[in-house]
Amino acid sequence: MEYAPGEGGVIKAYYNTAAHTGMFSKTIRVKTNSVKNKDITLILKGKVFAELEVKNNTIFFYDLVPGKTKVFNIEVKNQMGKPLEIKNVKMIFPYNASNFFSLKVKPVKGSNGKEFIRFELKPLTNVYQFSNSSLTVKVKTNSKQVPVLTFYLRLKIKKPVTINPTALFLYTNTGGKTAPGIIELDTELDKELKIVSVQCKNCPLKFKVIDISPKSKQILVEPDYTKGKKGKIFAGIIKLVVDVGGKKEFSVPVRGRLY
């Protein structure tokens, strides 16, 4: 653009305040053939305000236990001049989240006059089939300016039993005998892990439970030469019945050879 001597003009700068609340400062660079101030930096600044401002929209729901409700409060700055109401709550991602979680969201007032949005998340018993680690939740409010608040719920569900390894191979020959194997069992729940029974049909094996801690056990799997002759190749499934606030059965495939 060219301007004759004495002529003026306007540079208009546009900024969309959709993204964030709080202070903003945007710079605009202007290059001219002016003798003085060839490169000028213009600044557009201000403060974005919203009727409803949440301190944090990512919530960490760690150590979730199926069947147990976990509560998390998020502080909300209400400048509507009326109490906050929650009209509707929807878990929008993943689409099948409601099959695995029950979620209640309600506004609550703190003792210091501050307002909060309370999230009550309860994983259902089938939650271990849930493959995602986060939920996206949309909360409809009575605010005209901010009708929908979006929250991201990060999840970590405690595993009742972890078995390592998931399959056992006993092919190591140590001093003319089959080397024993170890199966480790741990729980992330705040309960004691008990091993009710260990069985393997048609396997020349014997089992010994080693108590590491109330939440951790080991099973020593040794060859049993009374059940099979040397040179026997075997394959089977070790059935483990574990009690962690309820009995559960697990299977560990096993293969090996009696040396």
């Binding site: 301007y3 004495g6 208009k12 700068a13 605009i28 660079r29 213009l42 557009l44 201000g46």
Partner: protein, 64 residues
């Protein structure tokens, strides 16, 4: 010799101050829009004038 040098230096300075060339002058380079609601489009207007004596060309206006 020194006086002659100062005379020419002064002459050069005077010539430069008369011959301005293109010069841009903004009313203000910082626009504070104050408090604005969320989900709105804010407009900042930066008025300027060519106060020089030659044609002013704006090559580029770019968000920084």
């Amino acid at each position: 010799m020194r006086k002659l040098f100062l005379f020419f230096a002064g002459l050069l300075f005077a010539f430069n101050s008369f011959a301005k060339g293109p010069q841009i002058k903004f009313e203000k380079t910082i626009v504070d829009v104050g408090t604005v609601p969320i989900h709105t489009k804010v407009v900042g207007e930066f008025k300027f004038k060519n106060v020089g004596d030659e044609k002013l060309i704006i090559f580029m206006v770019k968000p920084g």
